[in-house]
Subunit: 374 residues, 4 copies
């Protein structure tokens, strides 16, 4: 702390107190009060472990309602776990161990999971270049050239992320086109929805919006994020087609993702699935990012692309401003050599948080720009 | 429910209302109030994810205090996850991928984890017969015959469970003898402590007791259970020797066990590590099992071994009694062909629960024995 | 060598020159002249790699003829490789990664492959006690209790060895009963036939004999051994049912068993499949083992079970005799603590070899017994 | 065959008889006579399996001589197997399972091994763009940014190919610079030498040349190719530093690459290591490729880069010429959309083969160009 203060005290200006909310990541936010209340309520009495409890049953029914049909719901602890359960289940429905997973070179599974897929699935990730972190059907056609050649991993599953790791979105039509192309070539489709709520909020904010880019588009399995959207920690694997879900309960246990006291994960989801609170929370995060963008674009020295699709911004800042600002209210580098950083809003970010943060940014940039012009 | 009531209504007797607590498993119990309170308190404000928060720091320090030296603490979601993180880290400290894990044929890792070790570690489990679920040093000597022979998996890690899957205990001397033998042959030792609290309570109920059969005995890594002892869900991998912990943070992430909002796992442990509440809770469970045993041995038709070391009993019952009793207050079969069942107490089992349960057992057995004598 | 001579020169007796053939193992024998000739012939001209050559085509047709129907033949380098290709293909035809392989605790895959199955398949081997190294259908029923329970590996493939690691044989009826039981429970059957030729010779010595305990009995995949039966080195995976063979060409490559210049493996098999030479060679080895048994039982001090089913004997010898004999003509211990050794015959063992070996055994044992009686 | 002839008979011209040698691949060539003779000689008498034989001992000594120091030699069946043994051994010498392998996006391990590394090593391949299939030290610095971040696979081994998959070469200095950079960052270096003989011949044609880009440059492990250079089938893993070789015998067995009758692999290598025949053979292949290039560049319609470094050419041809030519003397496409094909020479390619092949190319191209100009 002393170190951080030192950096920031070098400034001539006096900074306001930092915002209550962190702009570092949506997983720096805590849990929504309704989630804590649900935990306390679920703690009443005994409940059989491993999913044989009424909260888990309710959760499955809530997901059936959400997707408008009977789906297979497997609660897991975290996003990497959800992705592995989903991918292992889909790969396991294809014959043989020789299928790979097609994804972008920005994909969380390829970049940010310390090789969990390769270790646990034993499968190659075929990561394709994607400037916007989005695949297009032509890329699936391209990798399909490997089909039938015994020397190459056979592409078997296509994994896309919605919202993407770069904060972009697939339209429902784009997902449908990818699913059509994948299915035509015998491949299955996984959607990593760590921020599926933000995507849903951005694409209409309704259950129909969710369905349009998942079940209606032909997606076979979804990692349905909760942790970044107001839970303490829970994700759900939703297997949308009956065939794709076979054996998923064994897979979940085998990959270490079976919760013992599952009622406490189910209760969290039940709290935010109630009255579509999950969409409301993510919508709030998105709105705060838009607001942050509006205000930040007015500050000299902040370089920004257009308004964010969901809840992340990737501004470029004068190098000298980054450390003082970070010391005042922490955020992560995105591309250090380009002085590009990431600011994220969360379900609990308020207008006041945004305004306070913008005040700080303004102060520091003014100070930095004045210093450099002297 | 209708089906269960039908079974039980066939009885002539009228059963009392079932006990509030379940005797099915210690993971059927909820969370201790202090744990819920700690979660609520930890929810205040933002906190960086993945362990860069004050609760996780506090948790590490609490484990350092507990073991009386600086250890490496890695929080994980569940017991299978903790075992895999511990074993992967220990195996990873040995050269090559060709080492196996020696355990008993009762070991949770061998029997109850759906092959997670084989899938994720890629290592053979060398499971040895052990009537009491306990290894002896001679068995380590025996498997060591494989050392140096290229056709055999090389035994590299010995994994023991304390308290064991059969509710038995290793003495501190027994663990030390195993560690000495293992280390003399170049092997490392893991202790699966899903019920380490019950073992600690039974072996003295002090921190010294814990240390006597872990760090002082030479154990290299511990899976330190929390979920069965009053948490909502959290376990800790404790790497006791500095060399054994290298790389464990990467291992945890790779095997899907890195919690995003880690403060919520740390806070749970902090709550029960405070004032050694963890020992007190487990001690209560153990006492209730002893009480249950005292009362059950007086009931004609219940066959039981001697008093339980920790919190599980394995009674044999007349076959006709099992379904009605289970319908009234659920418990699991242990060995269905021998009519052996398992009754477990938990941190929240009360004297009243035990007495109520015993009343029910007495009623049903009296009824069943009278029916069969007519 | 000096060391060995020393041991043997301590004897008073003068030993005859050791036999030309080794009794250490059938893989200590070289290749049959027809195999070398076939290699030389196959070396003529260019041939596309990876199986696109006329020798490999011929080999596939020869195996079709042998089994009386179209089977899928995948040549591999060695026995471990063949087993892994077969098991990975069968496991890959089941949904999910959570199936295990049922075998005996004598199985080569469980004991003598340095954990290759666990590493490469990622699957648990469920090894069952089997005094004669043979499974019985009741054991399959027993392990099937795990079916449907998410905490347990799901038994998916049954792997038996014929002739077994102990030199015993399954009758065709016994194999059929195992297959029926396995199939009834949704499991597939693999037969590790590293010594399938010896089994065939012993069970009738005809193609019908082979078929009776493989394709006719319902076996799904066979590891068809060649190396121990006069080849330089080649094994074949034969997938007997069309469904079981899907993807096997990718599996073979993925597990490092795709031969580049495959013509040279195919030519070896073609040489011994011609005119059923493979049965004749193995029959010779079996006969020599029987002869060895006849003669050895007459020697005081040699303890032997009944006549061998195939080509291995497991005599117990006076401890003092073992090292001198081994120094004279090498063989392996089987159970060192019981002074049990293994003598194996091979395709090239001659009557003279047997008689010479027996002369040596007789000399050493007489000497040892006389020394001990003085 | 009928189909192929049809294509070619559409031509007006009459083609000469095709060359005796194939230009499809160096693995379409057979074995050198000395290799066959060595096999026959090694077949004399019994020999213990798994490497306990004099031929294998001789082979190890020959490799010690070749590299000028005591190295660890592990014979394997094929190139994928050699790569897996080498990489598994190197990765196994690093702590933990969380290290990845850095390579180019042309690397055989990344593209042409059906995911064997991911399946068997469980490790991510970090494949970097490399237009010439060669890594540069700056790329190692770049991937090293992941070091210390728990969310990313830790780069642990750098794998380069020499000669590369594109027929290019690293100079000894380039390899040394890569090794220095890798070692400075705690990484080890593997060299995939499926065509190490061609590289050696091209870089001086002496043992010193070999050492300059392997042991002297700091390479830790080499896959030493034999199959493409006149053997029937054998490769060798050479572990150049003592620490890098620990456990490699177990690794080899575990990954299915332990040959039973190892004398027959050793004898092959002994034949070509004798009097440096291996360099002579590869030098011949290289010279024939140069000759092919000289003659081909004179043919109108053949587009070629500069002279080949080793034994492969990647000409672009008029599309209409490809099928008729291939039907006459088979070769593979390299980049079908660019009408780029691959021609390879082998140890047994003769001047006559080259001239005959060029005659055919000339005939077909003249015919095609005349047709298209009409």
């Amino acid at each position: 702390m002393g170190g951080r203060r030192a950096v920031w005290e070098n400034l001539i200006v006096t900074l306001p107190p930092p915002p209550a909310a962190s702009f570092a990541s949506d997983n720096a936010a805590g849990a929504h009060p309704a989630v804590l209340a649900a935990l306390a309520a679920a703690n009443d009495g005994s409940a059989l472990a491993y999913g044989s409890d009424p909260h888990t049953l309710e959760c499955s029914e809530r997901f059936n309602d959400l997707f408008g049909t009977d789906v297979t719901t497997r609660l897991t602890f975290n996003g990497t776990g959800a992705n592995i359960v989903a991918l292992a289940t889909l790969l396991g429905s294809l014959p043989g161990p020789h299928h790979g997973v097609v994804c972008t070179d920005w994909a969380h599974i390829a970049v940010d999971e310390t090789g969990a897929p390769e270790r646990i699935l034993g499968s190659k990730l075929i990561d394709l270049p994607a400037p916007e972190a989005k695949l297009v059907p032509e890329q699936i056609v391209e990798v399909a050239h490997a089909l039938g050649v015994q020397h190459h991993v056979q592409p078997g599953v296509v994994s896309i992320t919605q919202a993407t790791e770069l904060g972009t979105l697939y339209s429902a039509d784009e997902v449908a086109a990818l699913c059509d192309q994948a299915h035509a070539l015998g491949m299955l489709v996984h959607l990593d929805g760590a921020r599926i709520a933000n995507a849903t909020a951005a694409l209409g904010g309704t259950r129909d919006a969710l369905r349009s880019f998942t079940i209606d588009a032909g997606v076979d399995a979804v990692s349905f994020g909760g942790t970044k959207n107001g839970l303490l920690g829970a994700e759900a694997v939703i297997l949308l087609s009956p065939a794709a879900g076979i054996g998923s309960e064994y897979v979940r246990k085998q990959v270490t993702q079976l919760p013992s006291k599952m009622r406490f994960l189910a209760a969290q989801f039940n709290a935010i699935l109630h009255d579509d609170l999950w969409i409301e929370l993510a919508g709030g995060a998105n709105r705060m990012a838009t607001r942050l963008h509006e205000l930040a674009t007015t500050i000299p020295g902040v370089e920004l692309a257009g308004p964010p699709a969901v809840n992340s911004l990737f501004p470029r800042l004068p190098q000298a401003a980054i450390e003082p600002l970070r010391a005042w209210s922490f955020f992560w580098d995105w591309d250090a050599t380009a002085h590009e950083v990431r600011w994220m809003t969360a379900w609990n970010t308020t207008d006041t948080d945004v305004e306070t943060f913008i005040d700080g940014v303004e102060c520091v940039l003014r100070d930095v720009l004045e210093s450099s012009s002297n």
